[in-house]
């Protein structure tokens, strides 16, 4: 999963990603709608919109990814029906809660030190493994993911990874 901040960045990442997450908390609703609309129409790779169910619905995006502090996955599910609902989590408890609430997957991290979130202490591969074991839904690793680390996160039980820098 490539986490991108706009349509053009998304289009550059799309050939190397299986799914895109548009995350642009600084944009206004209409700006975000414009970026999402452009991205959804320009690529066949599924697009998730971070946090905004309304923009995901309006633009025909594949779904949303909810930050941990956002609305419950169950509420997003009610709005989105069969579209994808993912949740970013930072603990086993939050991962299990997301699974119970009907989330399709969780993103756990930061596993390693991350250039995009310099203040957050890394949780480590062991924590990733515990989270991956605690739920049945796919767990994506985020935070400091590099090509060299993919094998390691896989063997920890992650179904995949999300990244910003790797796709730039």
């Amino acid at each position: 999963m490539a986490v991108v901040s706009g349509a053009s960045e998304g289009l550059r990442a799309a050939p190397r990603a299986t799914i895109l997450q548009l995350r642009a908390p600084g944009l206004s609703t209409s700006e975000l709608e414009r970026e999402a609309n452009e991205l959804v129409n320009a690529t066949k790779v599924p697009v998730l919109v971070s946090s905004r169910c309304d923009v995901a619905l309006a633009t025909g995006a594949a779904g949303v990814n909810l930050p941990e502090s956002d609305i419950a996955a169950a509420d997003a599910r009610r709005l989105l029906g069969k579209r994808l609902v993912g949740r970013s989590v930072h603990s086993i408890k939050a991962a299990q809660e997301a699974e119970r609430d009907g989330a399709d997957f969780v993103i756990f991290g930061p596993v390693w030190e991350s250039a995009s979130h310099p203040g957050s202490p890394p949780a480590g591969v062991a924590a990733l493994e515990l989270v991956a074991r605690s739920v049945r839904i796919p767990v994506l690793a985020i935070g400091g993911v590099t090509i060299e680390r993919i094998a390691e996160l896989r063997s920890a039980g992650a179904a995949g990874y999300a990244a910003i820098g790797m796709f730039k």
Binding site: S28, T29, S30, E33, N37, D54, A58, T59
Partner: protein
């Protein structure tokens, strides 16, 4: 005052509306005058420009906070959209935000006369109807376009009487008459109504409703004008239901001439 009776109901997209006067929310000198005028108009359906809503600041007061939406039904409109694509996208956003699946479709590229673009309007209406929107398109008073929109599934047509805000009344009267005669969906005369007499005339022709904004909002006394136009709409509708006499070329005495003793 009872506006509708069991025998004379206005139903749009399965929803029965209590008033045949629809009102807009633009151009009022103050929020207070708008609220009082809405109340005086007796209207249920109130149209709001989506582009005027600040969708980004949930804490900022907008028209959505000023009006008591338990008492009115919102009709989002796409005013300010110049192409089908813009109108479609803003309607989708409004619906996905939970505002309404009704949309007053306005696609207006021309800033001078504010005439709606028939081609883009038809294009947008096709897409929105297919997506389940209840579409109320604002159109020039073109009977062919009105029929096409009806055929693709819009829930009304809204032909203009004269340019928006012009207060010129029903300059398109003969085409509106044809549209009303041919339509199987409600016809709402929108734009150009300047006074109660214009509203009454539209209703006498058989329009199902009228939409008025500027004539009320910019009147010296918006509340009194709202009442007056409400009266015009109700009178016009009653006159339509009562059956107007045909126009004739010669006179017909009001007093009977038979059985009266001849003057000597």
């Amino acid at each position: 005052m009872q506006t509708i009776t069991a025998a004379d109901r206005l139903v749009i997209a399965g929803v029965e509306l209590r008033s045949r006067l629809f009102v807009g929310t633009g151009k009022y000198p103050t929020d207070e005058s708008m609220i009082a005028a809405l109340e005086a108009s007796g209207a249920e359906l109130v149209t709001v420009a989506l582009r005027r809503l600040d969708l980004d600041s949930p804490n900022k007061k907008t028209i959505l906070d000023v009006i008591d939406w338990k008492r009115y039904r919102i009709l989002p409109n796409t005013a300010g959209c110049r192409t089908a694509e813009e109108a479609i996208r803003i309607a989708r956003l409004a619906r996905s935000m939970g505002l309404s699946d009704w949309v007053k479709l306005e696609v207006i590229p021309d800033p001078r006369y504010l005439f709606p673009d028939p081609e883009e309007t038809l294009k947008a209406a096709r897409v929105l109807v297919a997506e389940g929107f209840k579409v109320l398109p604002y159109i020039n008073a073109d009977p062919v376009l009105a029929k096409k929109l009806e055929e693709i599934g819009t829930v009304t047509v809204m032909p203009l009487g004269s340019p928006i805000g012009s207060g010129q009344g029903l300059q398109t009267l003969e085409q509106i008459r044809i549209i009303i005669g041919e339509a199987r969906i409600p016809v709402v005369v929108d734009a150009g109504i300047g006074a109660p007499s214009d509203a009454a005339l539209a209703m006498e022709l058989g329009a199902d409703a009228v939409l008025v904004n500027t004539a009320i909002a910019l009147a010296k006394d918006p509340v009194m004008m709202a009442e007056a136009i409400r009266g015009g709409v109700e009178s016009g509708r009653k006159a339509y239901a009562a059956g107007r006499i045909p126009r004739r070329g010669d006179a017909s005495p009001s007093s009977p001439t038979e059985g009266i003793s001849r003057q000597s």
